[in-house]
């Protein structure tokens, strides 16, 4: 079944070389605002006075903390470890002393506290490097996967899926796709890293090529980043196996499913993964990090973060250590709170980013941007108005959904109907809410519905288990009861038998008595009774 939809890498590349691209349905064109931050090189900044390193920064399970408070750690030293394949370690972003291991507000919409290691830098920046694997082509793939995992690399594009898991596909890889689209407005971290570090990105791609053995490699960059595109072209000049494509600017063309559709014309099956149609996709930043880990022995301890928005006097891109509290970055970009009506910092872009709860929230592996808008820039919405069923949302939806039906059913908590309208297929890109004239926070409703559905499923599973437990117990009790009754019955039978036996004795006795009496009478007839016999 799956092979039916498998793409043909040679065919795809031939089409790309002819300039043939596909389009995905829907999409929107929000103002780009990239030039606010993309004109200056990535800034190397001073270390913050303190780092808050959450022990789980990826999708999967967290590792076990392997350091103690007061311990001195080197830059790049692992702070957690685990043998669980779904676990990725986190590392000390710089050398220093572990000050605390406590709950700390997380880089999550809820800001819910998470186990976090507080590290105080010692200012020495002493690296603890892993052995270099410079000649990686002579190294077994499993060693490279192990290295990628040990370096703490997860997808840096947004989802944070462990890279070593993704890089071990069980199916043949037709196309390795490198995603440099960066379609979210304002964000320019990938743009800058492509412009400045195209060569190292190419090295990362080569390592991936060695690991996953794709038939073809495609790099896709949105056409609003010509410098990045040129830099990559220069870096890949000698390499015939790589096709570099510029894709039209449209949000969300950088979404994994949408980019695959643009490049190949094929869709990822709803119940499958890109690898099911032969695609594997990595973000350019992830490629950079892979090269760092393999060729330089460096764990993932920093990433490029875009600091942007009209409330920042000096918007820019910086190399931020993982765990840097956002207050430090806001200072560097000269945040002016008076420019905002309500103080607000968006982690990520304007379409899919979330607001940080406070300024101690740390930069984590998936933090690509801090957007600090002024009061006119991204005004807060008033209360939502009634849906007028205009259908603009359906036109904007890149997943081909009917957002207003989803909204209707989500709001009414008719989750079975919401699921019948394929709520799961929603990628939460925000295009529907972006165009909604009634300013309905549609995505918010979908998230709520999805969470509720998950909870309901969980509850159901729980109650199912409870029911099973109950039924097992009932069965056990019944069995016990039956066993007991059986025992009682047997015992009763035995008693009865004994009783019967005893009863027989009695009859015997009666018979014996009668016999005796008879004998006596016979004897009396023979010998006439005396008075004493009466």
């Amino acid at each position: 079944m799956v092979n039916k939809y498998m793409i043909d890498a040679e065919h795809v590349v031939a089409q790309l070389n002819q300039g043939r691209l596909f389009d995905f349905s829907g999409g929107v064109h929000p103002p780009q605002q990239k030039s606010l931050s993309n004109t200056t090189p990535i800034n190397t900044i001073q270390e913050p006075p303190v780092l808050y390193i959450p022990i789980k920064q990826h999708i999967g399970t967290q590792g076990n903390i392997c350091v103690v408070v007061g311990q001195h750690v080197a830059k790049g030293e692992a702070l957690t470890q685990s043998s669980n394949p779904f676990s990725v370690p986190v590392h000390a972003s710089t050398s220093g002393i572990i000050k605390a291991i406590t709950q700390h507000p997380s880089a999550h919409p809820s800001g819910i506290p998470e186990m976090t290691i507080t590290l105080e830098p010692d200012g020495q920046t002493q690296w603890q490097l892993m052995p270099l694997l410079t000649d990686y082509t002579k190294v077994e793939q499993v060693v490279l996967l192990e290295r990628i995992c040990q370096a703490g690399i997860t997808g840096l594009g947004g989802a944070g899926f462990p890279t070593h898991l993704k890089s071990n596909p069980q199916k043949p890889v037709e196309c390795l796709i490198i995603n440099g689209v960066e379609c979210e407005p304002y964000i320019s971290s990938d743009d800058r890293i492509m412009r400045e570090h195209a060569w190292q990105i190419k090295q990362g791609i080569d390592i991936l090529r060695h690991i996953v053995k794709p038939k073809q490699i495609i790099i896709a960059v949105e056409d609003n980043k010509p410098q990045a595109l040129n830099a990559l072209k220069t870096a890949c000049l000698q390499d015939n196996g790589i096709t570099i494509t510029s894709v039209p600017t449209k949000y969300p063309s950088g979404g994994e499913k949408q980019l695959i559709q643009i490049l190949t014309g094929e869709e990822v099956p709803h119940d499958g993964l890109p690898i099911d149609i032969g695609c594997l996709m990595y973000n350019v930043g992830t490629c950079f990090a892979i090269a760092d880990a393999v060729l330089h022995g460096k764990a993932l301890v920093q990433r490029v973060v875009t600091l942007t928005g009209q409330a920042l006097a000096q918007p820019q891109n910086v190399w931020a250590l993982l765990g840097t509290p956002i207050s430090h970055l806001l200072d560097i970009a000269h945040y002016d709170p008076s420019k905002q009506l309500v103080k607000k910092v968006i982690m990520g872009g304007p379409m899919m980013g979330f607001t940080a709860v406070n300024d101690t929230v740390p930069v984590v592996k998936i933090t690509n941007c801090l957007l600090v808008p002024d009061k006119q820039e991204l005004p807060d919405i008033e209360d939502e108005r009634a849906c007028i069923r205009c259908g603009l949302c359906a036109e904007a939806c890149p997943a081909g959904l009917l957002p207003q039906q989803l909204f209707w059913h989500s709001k009414a908590k008719e989750y079975d109907k919401a699921q019948a309208y394929n709520l799961d297929a929603c990628i939460e890109c925000g295009a529907c809410a972006y165009v909604c004239p009634s300013e309905i926070p549609l995505v918010h409703y979908y998230r709520k519905a999805k969470t509720d559905i998950k909870h309901i499923a969980l509850e159901k599973e729980k109650s199912e288990k409870a029911r099973e437990r109950f039924e097992t117990r009932q069965a056990r009790l019944l069995a016990d009861k039956q066993a007991r009754e059986e025992k009682h019955r047997l015992a009763a039978e035995a008693r009865k038998k004994t009783m019967d036996n005893k009863g027989n004795d009695a009859k015997d006795k009666i018979a014996a008595a009668l016999a005796r009496a008879k004998a006596k009478r016979a004897a009396a007839q023979n010998n006439p009774p005396t008075d004493s016999d009466k």
């Binding site: 103080k343 899919m352 300024d359 081909g400 972006y434 165009v435 300013e439 995505v443």
Partner: protein, 352 residues
Amino acid sequence: MQFSLSSSPHNRVRRDTGQVMRMVCYACIPGVLAQTWFFGWGTIIQITLAMLTAVVTEATILELRKKNVSRGIRDYSAVLTALLLGICLPPLAPWWLVVIGTFFSIAIVKQLYGGLGFNMFNPAMTGYVVLLISFPISMSAWLPVQTMAQTSFGLFDALSLIFTGFTQTGYNLAQLQLGIDGITQATPLDAVRTGLLSGMTYSETLSATIFSSDWGWSYGWSSVALAYLLGGLVLLQQRIINWQMPFSMLLGVILTAGFLSMLAPDQTGSIIYHLFSGAVMFGAFFIVTDPVSGSTTDKGRIIFGLLIGFWTVIIRTYGGYPDAVAFAVVIMNIAVPLIDYYTQPRVYGYKS
């Protein structure tokens, strides 16, 4: 420092419901001007009356429902409904007609169903249908195009007629309707219908007085239709409405009218006649495009429009009323949930 929280997306298109409704109102201007030019001040007076009634009714009911009144009024949906209804009414119909119709549209059809976004029927058209069924005489009292009328009248005559039933010089509406030949002149749709019913052929009906003028074939009505077409194209260009519903409705009219004229040549109106008479052009761009009561899927919109076009011609030809856009729209409003259900788009990753 604590930050304020909000949910993504954080930026939005700066075009809200109120703006959308206002743009539709503005797009009606060419049509309303043309209508005023050909049929006198009555149209403007009716629209004004309807808007006043609509806003008062809407505000009262929002207040009763304990909703935010000024916010509700500012979405301009009531104003638009009133405008659409006012356009459809005979220009010199008595004032109470427009008041009753508008009240019904806003209070019953819209607010009783839950207000903006929840009404399953098109408010303006349902109001119109109620008036047409309840007051058929007043609702068909259209005057001939002004230049053809025997008696000309101005703004004050129109006001006086609407509020008192007589012009300043003492004519009533029935007298004004009488043509040069002393025959009551209704709309071209009426004339053709009556003609066909009395055994004339379509071409014979066209020779009736109502069509004869220096300008040729029913120029007043067709000019008004063209003016609404112009406004509709602006709405399309501004992406306020989709192409699916207007064009599929026009296609529905063309196909049905074409089929009927093929079936019985000269016994029914021609395609052009159907397209440019009555409310077809206005309906295609301003009525069927009402998002609330219409279909919401691309395919559904095409089916919705096609069938409205179909019913319009069928009811015009075989029904008891000369024009039928309102009936067709209300009939198809009922079918919208069904159409929407069966025309869901294919979702990404699902093979059809």
